[in-house]
């Protein structure tokens, strides 16, 4: 059976690419430290020697729209074009083309449906920065085939937080039941406290540093009980109006497993948001 060789959870800051490729006067003062942290984070994936990447993210009203909005969707295609005109325009993100791993997509869909998750699917999916940002940070060669999984953290009504955790746990089991010799890393991105288009946006820090501190503790310690006892769809409005993206971190805690302490934990306090990076090695840290 396939092995889950790394579980990785991260924020997806669309400005990373532009900040760290800028030079001279255009290079922001925090770019060097940011790039150093990302290089250390990247190494945690490289060391696991993955063959396939399951990528959990959330479409930002690019291909998925309110006339037909899935809660959880799995891509099943041989290729995925990536990044959109408005991401090029606002963030300077490059167009990309990623290969798909269709056998694993088919397995995730069949096993997920059989496990009680009514997953939507897409045979032609153009992915956005929720998935390309971690490709850029963690695997810039973009040379590994992927299985994209999109969650709705964006367009209410949203699934409950516990459903994200349950889906994460199911993804772990499903990947480990895939009849394959391949090494799989599951990578997901979300947000800590975040405000977009509201009064608390683009401050000197994230909108709720205290929430961020507690969230990092929950994730780093795999404290699903603590997290689930405090986080509700209503409570997530308080730290910032886009904080429902934290549920993708909860999904990744489900993949890592209750009580699983992360092997790599790092954060970076930036304007507008705190960045956070976590890696778990389910079978022990690679040599």
């Amino acid at each position: 059976m396939a092995q889950v060789v790394a579980v990785i959870a991260s924020t997806h800051h669309p400005f990373y690419y532009r900040a760290t490729t800028a030079t001279g006067e255009d290079r922001p003062p925090f770019a060097d430290e940011w790039a150093r942290k990302i290089l250390a984070f990247r190494e945690t994936l490289t060391r696991a020697r993955p063959d396939v990447l399951v990528m959990v993210g959330s479409d930002h009203f690019h291909q998925l729209w309110l006339d037909n909005m899935p809660q959880f969707l799995v891509g099943k295609a041989p290729f995925y074009d990536a990044n959109w005109y408005n991401e090029e325009r606002e963030f300077g993100l490059p167009r990309m083309l990623l290969r798909g791993q269709e056998d694993l997509s088919a397995h995730v869909l069949r096993a997920g449906l059989d496990a009680g998750f009514d997953l939507a699917f897409s045979n032609e999916l153009r992915i956005d920065h929720s998935i390309t940002c971690p490709i850029i940070t963690l695997r810039p060669e973009a040379d590994l085939p992927i299985v994209p999984i999109y969650t709705n953290i964006f367009a209410p009504p949203l699934p409950q937080p516990k459903r994200f955790v349950q889906l994460g746990a199911a993804i772990r089991e499903i990947v480990e039941s895939w009849p394959s010799h391949l090494r799989v890393a599951v990578i997901g991105t979300g947000h800590l406290s975040l405000e977009l288009g509201g009064p608390r946006q683009f401050g000197p820090q994230g909108p709720d540093p205290e929430f961020d501190r507690r969230a990092v503790e929950w994730i780093a310690n795999g404290d699903l009980d603590g997290c689930l006892s405090e986080v509700t769809l209503d409570s997530l409005h308080a730290p910032g109006n886009a904080t429902h993206g934290f549920m993708d971190f909860m999904l990744m805690m489900g993949v890592a497993g209750a009580g699983a302490k992360a092997d790599h934990v790092d954060t970076l306090d930036l304007f507008h948001t705190m960045e956070a990076y976590f890696t778990w090695y389910p079978n022990g840290a690679p040599a």
Binding site: H60, F61, W65, L66, D67, N68, W84, Y85, N86, R89, E90, F154, A155, P156, P157, E195, L196, G197, G198, P199, R200, Q201, F202, G203, H237, A238, N241, A242, F271
Partner: protein
């Protein structure tokens, strides 16, 4: 209330570079044209199949036609859609990085939790 249609306007204009410029330079005419010609298009149909019932309220139409992002927030337009499109239209008018984004937030400073509902 037609919150969905306001979001549909923001979404379809934002993804079309030519419409972004039209909306920036001539918002009243662009909103009127869009409501007459585009509001009822079923976006996933390539053959021009359309709905028959979608229209703005007077307040929504006026908020869009006056580029009033504060009123759009109050009406429950999706904040990500409004922000993204307004950055595309107006960030260029500011010299300092993030100056427009900060000003945009300040103009919303009188809102406190709970923010207006954005469910559609």
């Amino acid at each position: 209330m037609s919150r969905y249609l306001v979001d549909k306007f923001l979404y379809t204009v934002d993804r079309d570079p030519e419409l972004v410029e039209r909306y920036r330079t001539d918002p009243h005419a662009t909103v009127a044209w869009w409501e007459a010609e585009r509001a009822n298009a079923v976006l996933n149909c390539t053959t021009g199949e359309a709905s028959t019932w979608l229209r703005f309220t007077d307040e929504e139409r006026d908020a869009l036609a006056s580029h009033d992002h504060v009123r759009l927030f109050a009406l429950g337009a999706h904040p990500f859609l409004t922000l993204t499109l307004f950055i595309a239209m107006f960030e260029r008018d500011h010299d300092e990085p993030m100056a427009y984004q900060k000003q945009y937030g300040l103009r919303l400073a009188h809102f406190s939790l709970p923010y207006p509902d954005i469910a559609t």
